[in-house]
Amino acid sequence: MVEMIGAKALIQALEKEGVDIVFGLPGGANLPIYDALVEAKFRHILVRHEQSAAHMADGYARIKRKAGVCFATSGPGATNLITGIATAYADSSPMIAVTGQVPTAMIGKDAFQETDIIGVANPCTKYAFQPRSPIEVPETVKKAFYIAESGRPGPVLIDIPKDVQQGSADMCFPEFIKVRGYSPVIDADLSQLGRAVEILYNAERPIIMAGGGVILSGAFSELQALAEILMAPVVTTFKGKGSFPENHPLAMGPIGMHGHAEANKMILEADCILAVGARFSDRSVGRYDEFGRGMNIIHMDVDPAEIGKNKSVDVAVVGDVKSSLRTLVKMLSKVSVRRDENTPWLKRRKELIDHYAETIKDYARDLTSRKALKKLREILPANSIVTTEVGQCQMWASLHFDVISPGTFFSSTGLGTMGFGFPASIGAKAAKSDVHVVDIAGDASFNMTENSLAVSVLDQLPVIVFLMNNYMLGMVAQWQRTFYNRRYMGVHQHSCPDYAKIAQAYGAQGIKAQSLSELELAVRAALKSEIATVIDITIDPEEDVYPFVVPGTGLKDMITGS
């Protein structure tokens, strides 16, 4: 036991958890923490807005697959984090958010910069702690990491009153921790796996629907092994994009509102759906009552509460999907040999892909979102990390950018947070500095957190912003075109600001690209650059995202736009 103040104990506890970087912004109520940071063994990245700190920690976590850490002061600092925390919660990303709080004696008095952040954070965190004395700090940190990283991961908030940061105690740093009332399931029930094997073995038209859980548990090789034993086509949810190599002969890409047409069609024709680490979100499956009707559905998930939440299923396999998939592969390889590659089912896959390839509408222009993203894929090394902003750019990325190396793609898929991609790409770069990181962006979304350019430049975390600029809140404009008879309201960004100049003002590289050849040169220049590059690509504001499954309809009602 060593005597030290709470703030110091926090820093040491974070060091013991192996933290190598935190993203944050100081203020009145977390000054003791920032003072203790001076001697910290890890790096601190000063953000320009707390929302970006949370997104950076999130981006870091999604690549490192361990909790990202962010700091903010009380009141507005803490509430600014909330959008980022809610984003991480919706996408089950592990995060530790440490906020300062007014001194315990002031809590409840509406003190300056006081917010009941525990109350605010409750619905969008896995847990929220508020240690009330310095001695609680080390154990709280240990518990926070355990909760954030185990089971279905998620953000955990630690709100530390200023007197708890300043007060000293004899600190004891526990090596192990138990949390009564929290015991995530790891190994699935074998009898359920047995039932899954039976259904899969007898299925004539099995399809695998891979979700974000595959990425979270790193079950890439297990998923591929299973698909190849079953010779089952693999569709993904949008969150599951990149859980399976999209150039694999069984891959069909994402399903859903803006899924691949062939994937949406294929899943309707299956007789058995194996959902792995997916939660049947409305964006993925359309209408719950129609989806999977008359099919056997097997649902594998680490979170028991996901079973039956949105969709009733025939077999539920609760446990870590990596472990479940591994067992399933073992059991299946005992009963079945690798199936024929020429089954009618796989021929149907080919048929659908060919059919929809012909119907793809590409605008006559030289530079379209599709052409731009295909070009990016062509130039970008396969191991590069790609994230996106939110809106049309995100859905175009989903449709036209194939992820080849599993686990190299992520996006704000659940909450759909505009402004996520850019700071998250900086976090990803911090997690893996030896690969290129690209943010596939739209203008309105990038505009929300573009001040992170300062971080990218000053902290030498260079990323590429692939900005598809249609001077619009493009997705909203598309909905206004489609559902409101082109009555545009609140969607025009005009040509303000000039994003290439904005980049230059921050000391980054800004390049305009108005043709495919200019785009190619710009990407090649960005890949060689040691500073961040914003490539401002002109896209036609009338360009829509298709296919489109209109909200409230089922996948069968998909509009292909051709």
Binding site: N122, V179, G181, H299, A305, I307, G308, S312, D314
Partner: protein, 190 residues
């Protein structure tokens, strides 16, 4: 008055497998008693009630209080719901880190009671006599008699309290406070 249908006999609402939820049985509303053991510390009640609100669960009553273990409190929840909603409610409760244990109690193997305080208008002697008679039949205690009102304390199942309330309704109920149901499994049932 809401009619309560006793839930079918069951010890757990967590089927080992996800059941065919579309079957007619699961759509039938039943009255359920849940018993949850919670960490006895600040903020836990908020977390549980916030969950009910955020996920659209309709609860009939909640009681919470101390138990034989100083660091745990027991929450008794009653609700009218179909099996699917009940299943989700239990899973969501179990997901809360401060919830240590959740059980569905089988009403037939459970002792459960509610307490009600009922203040009735009773200005004339006949009414007072009648209320006193009813109270004694229902084994209710008279807690307070004033010039204009009588307040009784009644303990029993929610049905018994409903029955008494219906009986005295026409005298005019001035105020009513019900505690909600507290429950424990009978005998050696856990």
């Amino acid at each position: 008055m809401k009619k309560r249908a006793l839930a079918s006999s069951k010890t757990s609402a967590m089927p080992k497998t996800a059941s065919p939820i579309n079957s007619a049985v699961e759509k039938v509303n039943g009255w359920h008693i849940l018993s949850a053991m919670l960490e006895n510390k600040p903020g836990v009640l908020f977390r549980v009630t916030n969950l009910f609100r955020a996920r659209n669960f309709n609860i009939e009553s909640i009681t919470v209080g101390l138990t034989e273990q100083p660091d745990l409190s027991r929450m008794t929840i009653t609700l009218i719901s179909d099996e699917r909603t009940l299943d989700q409610l239990i899973k969501q409760l179990r997901k809360l880190i401060d919830v240590v244990e959740v059980k569905v109690l089988d009403a037939e193997k459970t002792v459960y009671r509610e307490l009600a305080l009922i203040k009735m208008k009773a200005e004339d002697p006949t009414t007072r006599m009648e209320i006193t008679n009813f109270a004694s039949i229902f084994r209710a205690n008279i807690l307070d008699i004033g010039k204009e009102t009588i307040t009784v304390e009644l303990t029993g199942t929610p049905d018994k309290i409903d029955a008494f309330k219906n009986l005295v309704d026409h005298f005019g109920i001035a105020q009513l406070a019900r505690t909600g149901v507290s429950a424990l499994p009978r005998g050696r049932e856990q």
